[in-house]
């Protein structure tokens, strides 16, 4: 038998060992190729339009390949370990290590590039689907075409060849470090088997929990005004990241084992089957698993956090557009307004118009601000604010000595907290008025041109007149706000008219519909990229856990043999295994969810206006998809248990 035959035979025989590796490869290639195809597609140029979009796609593809490379190297490590016996045998019959390496490389080459080809074809097939999804998300009416991009193909092959070379290097180092004896015994030696729980470990565990809690606490203070400069913010963010990740690692390393040990001590050596299979096995492996679990947790937290944030911005796109342009169309210029309304009349589109007179005055607000107002552009607690009369807003009525804020964004609420009552002083050019503050209303009254993110001040008609008499000239807008509302079914045509009329799309005039679309386009691309990456994170981390469980299952197979000989049924064992899987998959998920929850909590308002619904949708979806891998690993264990006797 020559070497070539040996390679083919090996391939044939090991296909069972390889199938997951092959799956992982096909999957990652398909994903990568589809993504790169997107990058090279001419249709994308139009959709991404800006340099920013192209850069985002490029950065994402680099990130993607980084994840995929780590994932493939990990999978490869597991599989080369499984074949240690074979490598030992080859050495025993006198093959040189270089020869063995060559055989393995050839074998790997066939599997690797075979899968690469299949993956590319598969990626090509789904790229149209992916593009359709992208267009749908971005709200673009365009037909996705299916075209094979040579450039994308070359890039995929190039990048994956580089990964292949890295894997080969890892394999080479692995083989050259091994002796015949150690290769035969690899399976029983992979774990560090130190057992005693020391006080030190308990301290480490508690310290870990402390670090996580500290990270959470600091993250909740992140945008509360304690940290003002960008430099400070950046340092603090880095601090949170480091403290939470290290805390998680220490938590896994110390606390989990400690807690499990506490339960175990309590049992006095009398464990039931569930505890035998879950508790003791988890404790046994915790030391080496701590790092893996930390990585999985961090990756999950990152994915959930990013997905939540981007979904929040996508989800809130409508709300943002509305707060910027409360009416369907807003104008700050009489001429433009009349051009537009006459065009509407020509088309026979019914509309209604409202105009609101807007004044600006300085308002001393520091009496009603809770905590520090340092993050606001305020001098001596005085902020110039747009003022309207309650007469121009039918829904609101304000008393003579009262004052009301309205159109207050949730995002601002995170930066500065207003108390529900207090006194406010309004300063005009020469006078000042002491008013009673009545609170905040949600209603958006003016367009973003006037508010610039500030609440709008509503005052009584009489007071409004007085202010108008004594204006601080340099603060005023030289226009009134005008809003045009049309019927829902006419909005598209109206928007087309708005876009087609020359010169009226200048600053201050805006169309809610166009704004919404632009938001969706911007957010859509980001969401798509983040979603793509998130999915990759999810699947790779799920696969890694699954591979790890496969490995553990094979390693624990003799244990199942013993237990079954002792009289435990397959059902008994499976119940214990389920417990173990709930832990193995559940703990990183739950901790990841917590991490991402706090991450999202600390800065979500920078991304959008809605928090709970989009966050829970993302978390639910992620947890659901992630659980699939838990179920898969239980099924694998089921097979191992069945064959164990």
């Amino acid at each position: 038998m020559n070497t070539n035959q040996l390679i083919l035979r090996n391939l044939h025989k090991n296909i069972k060992n390889y199938y997951l590796y092959v799956f992982a490869l096909i999957f990652s290639t398909a994903l990568y190729f589809a993504f790169v195809t997107l990058q090279y597609d001419p249709a994308m140029d139009e959709t991404t339009g800006s340099i920013k979009g192209a850069a985002a796609v490029r950065v994402a593809s680099v990130l993607l390949i980084a994840i995929v490379a780590i994932f493939l190297i990990y999978a490869n490590n597991l599989f080369i370990k499984r074949r240690s016996k074979e490598i030992g045998l080859f050495q025993l019959i006198g093959m040189t290590k270089n020869r063995i390496f060559l055989i393995l490389s050839m074998e790997n080459f066939l599997v690797y590039f075979g899968s690469l080809l299949i993956g590319t074809l598969f990626g090509f097939a789904v790229s149209k689907l992916i593009m359709m999804i992208l267009f749908k998300i971005m709200g673009i009416d365009q037909v996705a075409s299916l075209s094979f991009s040579i450039a994308a193909f070359l890039q995929t092959v190039g990048v994956f060849t580089a990964v292949y070379l890295i894997i080969m290097l890892v394999n080479y180092l692995y083989i050259s470090r091994q002796t015949i004896l150690s290769l035969f015994h690899i399976k029983s030696k992979t774990e560090a088997r130190e057992k005693r729980i020391s006080i030190f470990e308990v301290v480490i565990g508690l310290f870990g929990i402390g670090l996580i809690a500290l990270g959470y606490y600091v993250s909740s203070r992140l945008f509360s005004g304690d940290f003002t400069s960008i430099q400070e913010l950046f340092t603090v963010m880095l601090f949170i990241l480091v403290s939470v990740i290290i805390g998680t690692y220490l938590f896994y390393k110390g606390s989990v084992r400690f807690l499990a040990n506490l339960i175990r001590k309590n049992k006095g050596g009398y464990l039931n089957i569930n505890q035998v299979l879950s508790l003791s096995s988890i404790m046994f492996r915790m030391k080496s698993n701590a790092l893996l679990l930390t990585i999985i947790t961090t990756v999950s937290a990152l994915a959930i956090g990013l997905l939540s944030l981007s979904y929040i911005s996508y989800y809130s796109a409508g709300k943002t557009a509305e707060s910027n342009t409360p009416a369907d169309f807003s104008f700050v210029n009489e001429e433009d307004l009349s051009v537009f309304t006459s065009a509407l009349k020509e088309e026979g589109i019914p509309f209604n118009k409202e105009t609101i007179k807007v004044l600006v005055a300085k308002v001393k607000i520091d009496d009603i601000v809770n905590g520090s107002a340092a993050s606001l552009p305020v001098e001596d607690g005085v902020l110039p604010m747009p003022i309207v009369s309650d007469a121009s807003i039918p829904k609101l009525n304000v008393g003579e000595n009262q004052i009301l804020f309205t159109g207050y964004s949730d995002a601002m609420k995170q930066i500065v907290q207003f108390s529900s009552s207090g006194t406010i002083v309004l300063h005009t050019a020469t006078q000042s008025f002491k008013q009673q503050y009545m609170g905040l209303a949600k209603e958006d009254v003016l367009s973003g041109y006037f508010t610039k993110g500030r609440p709008t001040v509503v005052v009584d008609k009489a007071l409004f007149e007085k202010i108008a008499q004594d204006l601080n000239k340099e603060l005023q807008f030289n226009a009134d706000y005008a809003g045009i509302n049309v019927q829902d079914e006419d909005i598209k045509i109206a928007n087309d008219i708005f876009q087609s009329l020359e010169g009226i799309q200048r600053s201050g005039n805006s169309s809610q519909f166009a704004l919404l679309n632009r938001q969706k386009e911007n957010m859509g691309l980001i969401m798509f990229i983040v979603g793509f990456l998130g999915l990759t994170f999810l699947i790779t981390s799920g696969c890694i856990l699954y591979f790890k469980q496969m490995d553990e299952g094979d390693e624990e197979r003799p244990n199942y043999t013993i237990l079954r000989k002792l009289g435990y049924t397959r059902g008994d064992l499976l119940k214990g295994i389920q417990g173990k899987q709930v832990f193995n998959f559940g703990i990183p998920l739950i901790i990841g969810l917590f991490h991402s929850y706090f991450a999202v909590q600390s800065g979500w308002f920078l991304f959008g206006t809605e928090l709970w619904a989009p966050m829970f949708i993302v978390m639910g979806l992620y947890a659901g998809l992630y659980s699939i891998f838990g179920v898969l690993s239980v099924l694998y264990y089921k097979k191992v248990i069945r064959h164990s006797l």
Binding site: G269, N272, V276, P558, N559, G567
Partner: protein, 253 residues
């Protein structure tokens, strides 16, 4: 009183074309409190016999009764239930769970039967002191010696007072001192607790501790030896003589 009764058991492996008959119609009956050894050369089928007797493997033909209950043809789940209550095992490779302490390993058979904790502890103390492993009860298998491991394995087999204990080459991986220690303990437990033991070995010294030896050759019973009133050393001579006639692995002294 007969504990185990096997009639004309056959066992073959492989499919129609590669059929290989390992057991060719063996009859065994074991009385309560007996210490029986099955001997034979490598490949004679002694381990297969132990496996089918202990319900881990199924017979191709024939019947096996333990305490009057038929084993053959039962479902997997019922067999597991049966092993739980009636059988104990000691193996050559110790077969301890690395993830559990000595005490936890020993208590395993009791936890399946849902015995109370107090009862379990009482049983543990008595069997552990008899086997001399009380000192290491909180250690893990990788922290104790081979002899201690095997005694742990024996303790696990004895703790739930099964009808029969099956031992497959229990001294196979032990040095001679640990081996004789273990065998002393086993025959002590056999006498004190009236425990029935079936042991497979190819070591005549180990076999000489038992009360009866069955020799197997090519899947059939070749001959039987009874210890009767002989001393252990004269029984050992008998066994070695028979083994010499039997061929296969020679044992030199």
């Amino acid at each position: 009183m007969t504990v185990l009764e096997a009639n004309k058991i056959h066992k073959s492996y492989g499919n129609k074309f590669t059929r290989q008959e390992v057991l060719k119609g063996i009859d065994v009956s074991i009385d309560k409190g007996e210490f029986l050894t099955i001997m034979g050369a490598s490949g004679s089928g002694k381990t297969t016999l132990l496996n089918v007797l202990s319900s881990i493997d199924r017979v191709s033909h024939g019947t096996i009764h333990i305490e009057g209950k038929e084993l053959t043809g039962r479902k997997e789940k019922q067999l597991a239930e049966f092993r739980k209550h009636h059988l104990g095992f000691i193996f050559q490779e110790y077969n301890l769970l690395d993830t559990l302490t000595v005490k936890e390993n020993i208590l395993l058979p009791l936890s399946i039967t849902n015995a109370s904790k107090k009862e379990a502890n009482a049983k543990f103390t008595s069997v552990a002191s008899e086997l001399g492993i009380e000192d290491v009860q909180h250690k893990y298998p990788n922290e104790i010696s081979g002899g201690q491991k095997q005694r742990t394995s024996a303790a696990r087999a004895f703790i739930h007072e099964p009808s029969i204990i099956f031992a497959d080459e229990p001294t196979g991986a032990l040095d001679s001192k640990s081996a004789s220690d273990l065998l002393d303990k086993m025959s002590e437990l056999n006498q004190k607790r009236k425990a029935t033991i079936v042991m497979v070995t190819h070591d005549p010294v180990a076999a000489s501790y038992s009360s009866r030896v069955i020799f197997i050759k090519d899947g059939q019973i070749y001959t039987r030896l009874y210890k009767g009133d002989q001393t252990r050393s004269s029984f050992l001579k008998d066994i070695m003589k028979t083994q010499g006639v039997l061929g296969g692995v020679q044992y030199e002294h």
